[in-house]
Symmetry: C2
Subunit: 394 residues, 2 copies
Amino acid sequence: MNVDALLATRTRNIQASAIREILKVAAQPDMISFGGGLPAPESFPLDLMPELMERVLSGCGARAFQYDQTEGFGPLREALTGFCQTKGVPARAEEIFISSGSQGGLDALGKIFITKGDAVAVESPTYLGALQAFNAYQPSYINMETDGDGLIPESLEDVLENRKVKFVYLVPTFQNPTGRTLPLERRRRVADIIRRYDALLVEDDPYGDLRYRGSPLPSIKSLAPENVIYAGTFSKIFAPGLRIGFLVTTPDIGRWLVLAKQGVDLHTSTLTQALAAEYLDGGFLERHLPRIIQLYAPRQAAMLESLERHFPSGFEWSRPEGGMFVWAEGPPGLDTHDVNRKSIEEGVAFVPGRYFFTEPGSGCATMRLNFTNSDEDTIRKGIRILAGVVEREL
Amino acid sequence: MNVDALLATRTRNIQASAIREILKVAAQPDMISFGGGLPAPESFPLDLMPELMERVLSGCGARAFQYDQTEGFGPLREALTGFCQTKGVPARAEEIFISSGSQGGLDALGKIFITKGDAVAVESPTYLGALQAFNAYQPSYINMETDGDGLIPESLEDVLENRKVKFVYLVPTFQNPTGRTLPLERRRRVADIIRRYDALLVEDDPYGDLRYRGSPLPSIKSLAPENVIYAGTFSKIFAPGLRIGFLVTTPDIGRWLVLAKQGVDLHTSTLTQALAAEYLDGGFLERHLPRIIQLYAPRQAAMLESLERHFPSGFEWSRPEGGMFVWAEGPPGLDTHDVNRKSIEEGVAFVPGRYFFTEPGSGCATMRLNFTNSDEDTIRKGIRILAGVVEREL
C-alpha cells in the first residue's frame, strides 16, 4: 500500500522531533544525561499509591472507572480551585479544563484556534512540545525577543501592534529551555499590553511550584484574568505517567475546548484524575512537594557551582531560582551540536539549544542542561567532563 | 475578548454533539436509560484494583509513573500480541500503537490522513464518535449501503471504483449503532475488494469480545493484514475510565501515528497502561470476561424478549449475538425524535437513530437501544413503557 499517497498535507509538517534521536542516545545506560526533561523517578510518591488507590475505591468506587465528562472529573476540578488559589491563580471549577498532560491542553488550544497560516507569537527560544502541538495545525510563528529576564515586553507590543496573532504563548517562570523567569515589573507590563490589545495569552507554568530560592511571583493570569489561559500540570509535582494537565480558561473558550477534546480522547483517564484529586484533597501534595524541592535544590546548586568552577570564560548561563533547566551560551562560533557529539563519546549528553528556536541558524552556541535526573556527584562529574570538551572546542 | 474572531475555521465544524443533550437527560436519576453506551459499573473488576496496583508497583516501580515512549508501554504492547492472537488478529509488538481510548486512535488516524475535503467512506449508519474524531480534519463522507448483515460489499466496491478515498471506516462486529455483524462471506469479499483496490480499511472492534451466542468470526485484519488497521479497546472488557485503546497497524503507518500523537498527549498514561498489562498478563481478563458476558447476556435476552412481546407490528429490530445495542426501526413516517421526547416524560430515554447518519433526513424512524446499563427487570419495564409510547405515535 502506498502510505505516502494517503497522508494529509499537514502530516509532512509533523516532523520527527529532531531531538528525539539525541534523547535516545541520552537515555543509554551509563550516560550522564543533562538531556531530557525528566523528573527524578525518586521524586514520585510511590509509597502513597496504594493508599490513594484505596481512597479512590472507597470514595468514588466505579465512578472512577466509568466514562466521565470531557471537561474533567468533578472532584479534581473542585480540588484544583483550592490548589490554584495557593498558586495565586484565580480559578472557579467551571473554568478548569482537564487535559491529558499539559500537552493535551496545548493540542486543544491549537485545534480550536489555528487555521493554516495563522500567526502564533512565541518567545525565542521557546518550549519544543508547544511547537509540536501547534505544528499539526500549520501556524506561522512570530518570534518575540528575550533577554536574561525572559520576554522583552516591547517586543510583544511591537508584534501585537503590527500583526494579527491568534495567541501569544509564554512560559514565564523557570522557562524551558532557558530557566529564565519574567520579573514582576515585566509581568505587569505584559498583562497591561495584552489587555490593551485585547489579545489572548497562554501562560504555560509547569515549573512554578519547583522553587528553590526567592519568592513566588504573581501569575500573569492573576494580572489579566480575562485575557490569559493558564496551563498547569501534575507531571512535575506528582508523576508525569499519570498524564494530568489542566487549563484555567474562560467559560466561553472552555466550551470550544470541550468540543475539540471530545473528538480527541473523550476525556482524560478518570482513574488518574481521581488519584490526583485524592493527592490534593488528602493534603499529600502539600507534604510531598517539599521533598521534591529538597531533592532538586542541591542538584541545581551542584550544577551551578560546577559550571562556575569548570566552564571556561566566554560562557554565560542562567541562574534560575527553580525549575529543571540551566541554559548555557558559549562565545559566537561555538557549535554545541559538535560539542554534544563529542561529549557523548565521553559519556555526557545534553540538548543543543538550537532546537528551541524556530529560525534556523539561531542558538548555535547554546545548550540546555537538565539537573533533575542525576544526583549531585554525577552532575559534578558530568559538568567537569563537559567543560573539558567545551574547552577543546573553543 | 472576542473569542469567536479567534477561532479556527475548523472549529465551527466541530459541532456540539447533538446527542449530548439527549444523553444528559438520559443520565437523570430515575430515568430508565437505553440511551448511552455505558458499560455496567458492576462489570468493572474493582476488587482486583488493589492487587493490580500492587503488581505494578512491585513489577514496574517508578517506570509506571515516568514519561514513556509515545507508541505505548512496552509490557502492554507485548501482552497485547498474545491477546490479539486469541482474537484472531495477527499483531507483532512493533505493530501495536497504544492510544488514549480508541477515540485517541481515531483522532490520530484522522490527523495523519485527512486533509480538508478528503473522502472517508463510512457505513450508513455509522459510529458517531468516529465522525467526531474525523470531523476536526474536515473530510467529506461517502456513505456505503448496509442491510441487516451490515455493509453491502458491492457498495464498497462501487465507492472504491469511482472515488478516491483516504480510508474506509467499518465496525464489522456488533456495530454501534445497529448491533449488526458482517457475516464471514462478506468479510472475505470486503477483504478481497480492499486488497484488489489496495485501499486502507479501519476495522473498529470495540465489542467483539462481548459475544453471548454463536461463534466468533475472523477479523478482516486477518484476511487482509496489509490493508487493514485494527482498532481495539479496554473500555468494554476492563474499564473505560482507564482510557486505553490500541491500533494494530503497519510499521510505516505506525511511525506517522507516533509523530501525530507526540503533539497530542506525548503518550497515554503509563500507569493505566501498566494496569492493563497486568490485567492481561496475570490472567485476570481471562477470568473476568466470562462474568461480564454472564451479566450482559440476560440483559440482552430481556430486551429482545420484551421487544417481541410489546412492540407493535410494523417494527423490526436487530437480534445481535453480542455487543451493547439493539437497533429498532419503525414504519416510514414515524418520528423517533418525537417518540423520545414523549417517552422521556414517562421516564424512558433512548437515542433516535437519525444521529448516526451523515445525510440529513435518514433514519427518522430508527432508534438505538442500549441494554448493558440496566438490569433485566428495568429493561422489561422500560421496553413496555416505550412500546406504549410508540403505539400512540404510530
